[in-house]
Symmetry: C2
Subunit: 213 residues, 2 copies
DNA sequence: GTCTATATTGTGATAGAC
DNA sequence: GTCTATCACAATATAGAC
C-alpha cells in the first residue's frame, strides 16, 4: 500500500477525530494522488481500514466526499484571505496577503489541490454551488489587485482580471511540486513568490530590494 | 453532445488526416475536459463518429492514446524551446524564450494540458519514459535560468531550481483558464507573463520599462 | 476499416445480519 | 457502526462477419 497515503490515514486515526473527518482527509490525499475519477471506494476503504460497505454509513455517494472537500477548501481560504487583508494601504500589505495565501495552500495541500483540479467531477448542482464560491474567492483577490492599482502599488497598464490571473498562476501551480520537508517551507516560498510577483526575477529589479544583501 | 469537443473532432475529419491522428487530437480535447480516467472509449468513439470496437483497429489500449499524447506534447515543446534559444546573451533572449513557450503551450493546449495533468494515468513503464522526457524539458529551462544568473540577467539569491519552478508556475497554470478568441492572444499573454516574470507587477518596477507609456 | 455481439472485469452502491 | 454477500451496471477489450 502507498506509504504517503496510509500515513495520511494514520494521522487521523487517533482518538478524537470522527470517521467522517477521516474519510474527508484520507479521500483528499487519495484524490490528489490518483484523481477523483481514478480513485475507487475500495482503495479508500482499505486506507481507512474498514470495509467498503461501511463507508456508506457515513456518506451517501462518492461524489459527496468531493463536494465536501471543495466546500471545506474554499470556505477556509476565503476566510484566511479575508482575515489577512482588512485593507491594502502599502505594498507590504500585498506581500502579507500573498504569503498568507501560500501558507494556506501548502498547509491544506490535499484539499486545495483536489478543489482546484477535480471540481469537474461534481454533479451539476454541486458544481454550480462550488463554482460560485470559487468566483467569490477570485473576486476577493481581484478586488485587492484593483485597489492596489488605484493606490499606485500595482501597475495599471493591465486589467485587474489579468493581474489577478497571473498572480493565481504563480501561486496555484505550486500544488504540483511543493513537498513539505523540502528546503523551502511555506513562509519562505510565500516570500519568494511575493517578491517575484512584485519585483520580478531579473537581477536589475532586485538591486533596490528591501533586505537584499 | 458537447459542442467544443465535437468541433475538435470535426476539425480533423477533413480528408488528408488519418484516423490515428484524429483519435489523438480528439482524445486530447476529451481528456483535457473530463480527465483521462473520467473519459470513456464510448464517448471517444461517439465524438469520432465510429463504433467503439472500431477504435481498436487503430490502438491497442486506451492508455496507449495517453502515452502518445504525452510523447507528442513533450517532443514538440522541447523542440520549440531548443529552437527559440540558441544562446542567452540578454534579457531580450529570455523574453523571447518565454513568449515562444507560451505561444506553444496555448497553441497545443489540449495536448499540453493532458501531458501536464494526466501523466499519472500511464502504465509504470510508460510513466518512466515520459517523466524522463519531462525532466529533459525542465532541465532545458533550468539551464537557461542558470546561465542567465551567471550573466547577471536573473537574480542569483535563489537557486536556479526554484527560479525555474517559479517560471513554470507562472506559465503552466495558464492551461486552466486561457481560451483562444479571448481578449489576449498567445503572443500578448506571452509578453505579459514575460514582463511579470522579469520585472514584476508592481507599479514602481514598471516605471523604467521599455515601451512603457 | 468498420460493424454487431459479447466476454470479462471493475465500479458505486445496497440488503440485511450482528 | 461495521460486517459479509451481492446487485446492477459501466468499463475496457475481443471475436468474427462484412
Amino acid at each position: 500500500m502507498n506509504k504517503a497515503l496510509s500515513n495520511a490515514a494514520d494521522e487521523t486515526s487517533a482518538t478524537g477525530i470522527s470517521t467522517s473527518e477521516r474519510i474527508l482527509s484520507t479521500s483528499a490525499a487519495l484524490f490528489r494522488e490518483k484523481g477523483y475519477a481514478g480513485s475507487t471506494t475500495r482503495e479508500l476503504a482499505e486506507l481507512l481500514g474498514i470495509r467498503k460497505a461501511s463507508l456508506y454509513h457515513h456518506i451517501e455517494t462518492k461524489e459527496e466526499i468531493l463536494y465536501q472537500i471543495c466546500i471545506a477548501s474554499l470556505t477556509r481560504i476565503i476566510d484566511e484571505i479575508s482575515k489577512s487583508i482588512t485593507e491594502v494601504v502599502s505594498q507590504e500589505d500585498l506581500r502579507t496577503m500573498i504569503r498568507s495565501h501560500v501558507v494556506e495552500i501548502v498547509g491544506t495541500r490535499d484539499f486545495h489541490s483536489v478543489m482546484l483540479t477535480e471540481m469537474r467531477g461534481l454533479t451539476p448542482d454541486h458544481l454550480v454551488e462550488v463554482v460560485a464560491l470559487r468566483d467569490r474567492y477570485e473576486q476577493l483577490i481581484r478586488d485587492v489587485v484593483s485597489q492596489s492599482q488605484s493606490l499606485g502599488i500595482l501597475r495599471d497598464d493591465v486589467a485587474a482580471k489579468y493581474l489577478m490571473l497571473c498572480l493565481l498562476n504563480l501561486l496555484n501551480w505550486t500544488i504540483f511540486w511543493f513537498k513539505p520537508g523540502g528546503d523551502l517551507d511555506g513562509e519562505e516560498l510565500g516570500d519568494l513568490l511575493a517578491s517575484i510577483y512584485l519585483e520580478g526575477a531579473s537581477q536589475m529589479s532586485t538591486l533596490g530590494r528591501v533586505g537584499a544583501s
